[in-house]
Symmetry: C2
Subunit: 208 residues, 2 copies
């Protein structure tokens, strides 16, 4: 049992890396088992199907990302910063993103979309909490919190996912976030520095 669980995790990690490196559709079972050095039967002893593997890989990712997000939740950051940090932490870790950037996003649509949907499910309750905290502190002022959070998540994912945006995109993003939550102008302007600061020099800054 111990051994089996270890093997499954090993396969999961290999699949995870290959899915991100070359895309889900472009990764064959044969390649995965070659990398792992096992027979096809062994692979299917652990996974029902390729799709099931993708699902498991995504769950693995979500678990880590939600973990990070919850850690942020417990910090004493100001509410606006906390909100953005939670959103920001709900994505593949830094080093993984480097790999992901090598691959054109359009070549991994399925995985990309499935990840985003799962993230949304997990994130909405967390973010709703933060926004409520903000409202009780008089920083935000709005109703229909959950629906607003969902909308913010959608545009945040589009903005952050590929890292392809201009200063004007960021400006608009900040404005929309503030107005969607009913915050004072400038409340969210720290996002601009966060983004330009977060772009390591080892990444070329993508511009449209």
């Amino acid at each position: 049992m111990k051994k089996g669980e270890r093997r499954k995790q090993e396969l999961l990690k290999i699949a995870y890396r290959m899915f991100i490196e070359k895309g889900y559709e472009n990764t064959s079972i044969d390649e995965i088992i070659a990398e792992a050095g096992i027979a096809k039967g062994t692979y299917y002893y652990y996974f029902e199907s390729k799709e099931a593997t993708l699902e498991a890989v995504i769950e693995m990712m979500i678990e880590e990302e939600v973990g990070r997000a919850k850690a942020v939740l417990e910090t004493s950051l100001p509410v606006p910063q906390k909100l953005v940090s939670v959103i920001y932490s709900l994505r593949p870790a830094q080093d993984e993103q480097v790999i992901a950037k090598a691959l054109d996003v359009t070549e991994n649509i399925v995985m990309h979309e499935k990840v985003n949907r799962r993230i949304a499910e997990e994130a909405v309750p967390l973010l709703t909490e933060v926004v409520k905290e903000g409202i009780s502190q008089g920083i935000f002022e709005c109703t229909n919190i959950e629906e607003r959070v969902r909308m913010l998540l959608i545009i945040s994912q589009h903005i952050f996912d590929d890292g392809i945006f201009t200063d004007r995109d960021v400006e608009v993003y900040i404005d929309v976030v503030e107005k969607t939550l009913g915050a004072n102008g400038g409340t969210m302007s720290f996002i601009a520095e966060l983004i330009s600061g977060g772009q390591d020099e080892k990444f070329a800054t993508h511009k449209r």
Copy 2:
């Protein structure tokens, strides 16, 4: 030459219908050629690959949708209505949507996503025009128009695509649209009636 073009259109229509009915991934070339009653070689005489067929199908859709949108542009509708109508017309036609609803959206992620991206490319310039018209009329007030339009498109697609939204979702959507464009409160509230009116009785109203 004439004959060839007709055949290509015929294949395009068949592929289009099947892609929407059963999803792109779940439709095989064999099924398409069986429906068309031709040999595989003939199919590949007209299309480089399955992917190329999808691309062609999407172009066909976009052409019609953009055509509809441009027709709306030339009407004398009030700017807010015009804006929403353009967005609304930039989606598969009614009868096609009926078919599309039978299929779970998640089963056609690739096509769905590709269509949305192409639509965005075509729609942004059109919508930018409308917003500029609104600004000159004093109805809207904002800068960075193109970026705002892109953002509105993203949330509009998410709202309208599946037709799965509550009254509160619509409420928030209206609010965000107004604030994103710097319109007075209530300017966009007609959207609520438009949506509830647009839901034919033959469709079950999806609620979350």
